[in-house]
Amino acid sequence: MTAEAGLTAPPGVGVDDKVVVASDLTRRYGEGDTAVDALRGVSLHVDRGKLVAVMGPSGSGKSTLMHALAGLDKPTSGTVRIAGIEITGLDDARLTSLRREHIGFVFQFFNLLPMLTAEENVVLPLSIAGESPDREWLGELLSRTGLGDRSRHLPSQLSGGEQQRVAIARALVTRPTVVFADEPTGNLDSKTGAEILELLRGSVEQYGQTIVMVTHEPRAASVAERIMFLADGLIVKELTDTNAGEVLEVMSAIQS
């Protein structure tokens, strides 16, 4: 399968280190009196090679923000650029190519295909795009995620943590411009969750991967270099290089 539409950034934009740029995003659900504004004008940017966390209590609009940033949902107004490409107006075919080249996903519920082995799940994005995997890179990923000896197992034979590691390897295999992680530890116990966070952090440090993570857990957010706090559809605070304690304080301040 070849890419349906070639997507190259306009000249001079790709060199920009801001790989995700959102400006003035709003998202309204429903109409009239029952309308709900999930996003009320959010602007942000994510630098290349950084791990950025979006935090907020439930209902703050953080999931909506991530869906808009990743091109899963169309904002009511505002724009999103990924790798310099304006994505808000793209048709389905172009969005598909964008996902192949620039985006990786890690889900709360792993979303592995149950009939494929761990390794087959990892290389799935490549086979969908009709590319063959770089054996060296695949080996590196499998050993880095600690799946070397479990690569022929089916998801049902793997623990939750192992499944999420497969999902991370799958997100990294195409070396996307940005990985969106949606509550990656939300369905795991705290010890396993910590291992997963370490893996995400490590991929930023070792491979220079850019990651945007949505979470409501302060401990998870604290591994990020930058944390944006969302409340009622607006970014209310930003922290850099912080710790769980400080995050917890901010969160309680927001929620009160």
Binding site: R99, N111, L113, L124
Partner: protein, 855 residues
Amino acid sequence: MSRVALKGLLGRRTRALLTAIAIVLGVAMVSGTYILTDTIKAAFSTVFTRAYKNADAVVTGKSAVGTDSNNAGAAVPRTLPASLLTRIRALPQVALAAGAISDTAGLIGHDGKVISRGGAPNLAFSHTAAGARFSPLTLSAGRYPTRPHEIAIDAETASKQNFAIGQQIGVVARGPVQRFEIVGTVNFGGVSSLGGATIAIFSLPTARRIFHKQGQLDQINVAARHGVSPEQLVHTIRPLLPPNSQVKTGRAEAQQQTKDTSGFLNIFQDFLLAFGGIALFVGSFVIANTLSITIAQRTRELATLRTLGASRRQVLRSVMLEALIIGLLASVTGLFLGLALAKGLNSLLVSFGIDLPQTGLVFATRTVVVSLIVGVGITLLAALRPALRATRVPPIAAVREGAVLPPSRFARFGEPAAIATIVGALALMLVALFVSGLSTTARLLGVGIGALALFLGVAMLAPRLVPPLGRLLGWPAGRFGGGAGKLARSNATRNPGRTASTAAALMIGLALVTFVGVLAAGLKTRFESTVSQEFVSDYAVTATNNFAPISVASENALRHVPGVLVVSGVRAGDGKAFGSRMHVTGVAPNVSRVIAVNWQTGSRLTPALLGTEGAIVSKDYASANHLRAGAPLAVQTPTGAMLHLAVRGIASPPKGAISPFGDVTISTTRFDSAYQNPQNLYTLINMRGGVTTANTRTLQRALSGFPDAKVQTIAQFEKNQEQGLNLLLNLLYVLLSLSILVSLFGIVNTLVLTVFERTRELGMLRAVGMSRRQVRRMIRQESVITALLGAAFGIPLGIVLAVMVGAAIKYTAFTVPVGTLVVFVIAAVIAGLIAAIFPARRAGRLNVLEALQYE
């Protein structure tokens, strides 16, 4: 990506299997039909090729009014004068020529009845030393008959009926039973079975005596001298021929006869294929529904694939690939199942009285190609809509709990489109049925396509009707089924689209069964009123199989029996007038005492005054040809003779009845002089004292020498005449049950998928105290409600179809067979219960803990 589809298919093996069954049965019917009809055709071809293998030229008589008559007793062609053989033998180009008699004669079994199986012919041939070279028969034991009271019979009949050489056997032909000594048995080379036919061989003089063909021959086989081609031989013989006879090369004659039977077999083949087509049509509903459900259940998986970069086209392709594999596996399975089905179909036909010759099974390339193309094609077509829906799964569904498929783009046009389809379908059918000047093929095609479109339209509308109807039909379950019943009732209507297409599959089968049942009831009503109004005699004598002609000798045997007041035979034959074929009836002067008709011109005295020139014409025939009383009428008989007649009477059947007479009716006196070997369609009798046991016994005794004749009271006659209709009706029911079976698999499929989908919910129900039994009952009742929905759609639809078609054909009166329809509803309930067995067991066996953890 294709690996995802393949592995996915392997992971859902049960579902794939259940889906495939929907197509397997239809394909098996198609392939089985081809195998069976090809086999029969090959057998006929072998029979005819063998029959003329050594004949370079074949001379036969020819009917002056055309062949392929469906009027029993009229198909006997003209004979040839024996002198023709002498003249042919005298030709220098001829090496050998032999004449033969071929006719029909019944062999009497040890039970005193004519040996007859499956409506197959009772053949009789003459044997001569000169003709041996041309004979397709080989002696299996003993010798050929040479003396007046000797006979040889086919080995199959001899062994099946326990006759041995040296034993006596009765033969009935053109008169009372005659006894013959069996001196030999014969085989027909090349075929394993002649399909119920019996063969009797006599010496030529004996055959001539039995069949009243003194100085005549039915056929002359000729072998050419060395160096003379068959074509040259035919050319030399042709000038010698009398009128109404023909000469052909042996090969041409074999081909002609093969072609004649092929015509019949092709109709038969199309008839059976239609049922395969119906089963496939129903199967396509099942496949479309199953795939829709599977895709709805895989929404999350498909959305994940989209987030990983899969394009819509890839999603479409993966679903279609899955369908392709299912279709291919199902078609191959169906193709081979067809081999078994061909045998089954043959036994079915034999049990319904259609027995045809057999050879080894013929498995033609065309069978393989058509089966695979049809099976795979239908599967792909049915998969298209679900596959297109799958492409509409948005990537964001990957992150949403309980995401559902977006409604189809056309959903909002659903209702108007459904109504438009229904109206269009009805209009098409009305045009096909009632607009004059259309060919039969066009009419059948129009009605067929219209019916398919009607089913589609109703199926499209069904989702709207399911909630109210389901609540109504589920009322007993909700009222008396306890908590499980209430849940079953709401489960049946909670996904109306799904329930609707499941029920729609059953609807088709039930609609067709109802259609056939209602139409048959109408035909019967019409028939009953015909017999009760027209046949005013006490007794009727017909052939034992109710439709074959019987000898005039049997009529004569009744004439002087004490107590008999009236004996009136009705003859039937073909004729030609105004340039086209028509039916001729011969009646006795006393016919008005046994048959009542309405006289438009003439009176009940007219038959007695017909003489040799008079004719009675039916009202329809008179108006079609502008005939009035006194009008001259020229009718040509099969022998080529011209009957110059004058119209003396115009008769019409009583209201609601079918005419007892053909287009033109003449006196038996004239009929017997104009037709060779005249035979009776039936003989009607009035007795002193009417119908009594003693009278019945008297008549039976009088006819004891005629085992092919059957004495019946007029009430029995009516019943027996209906028997053929009942047989056909049952055959249709059996063939239609195939498509009902397919729809049952559809119900099983939907229920299994539903149980799978509701695993967590079922676990919860068990956790809050529902017993296994209650779970099973809940599934069973949901199944019954679905089946009843199928009946609620199908039965009225079937009645509508029957009313439309019934209005177009005149031999029916509209009657609703309430009893039969009640049986269909009960059958639908039972079908629902059967379909639920497997899914209910599955649901009952769920482990509560695992079910709750199920994700």
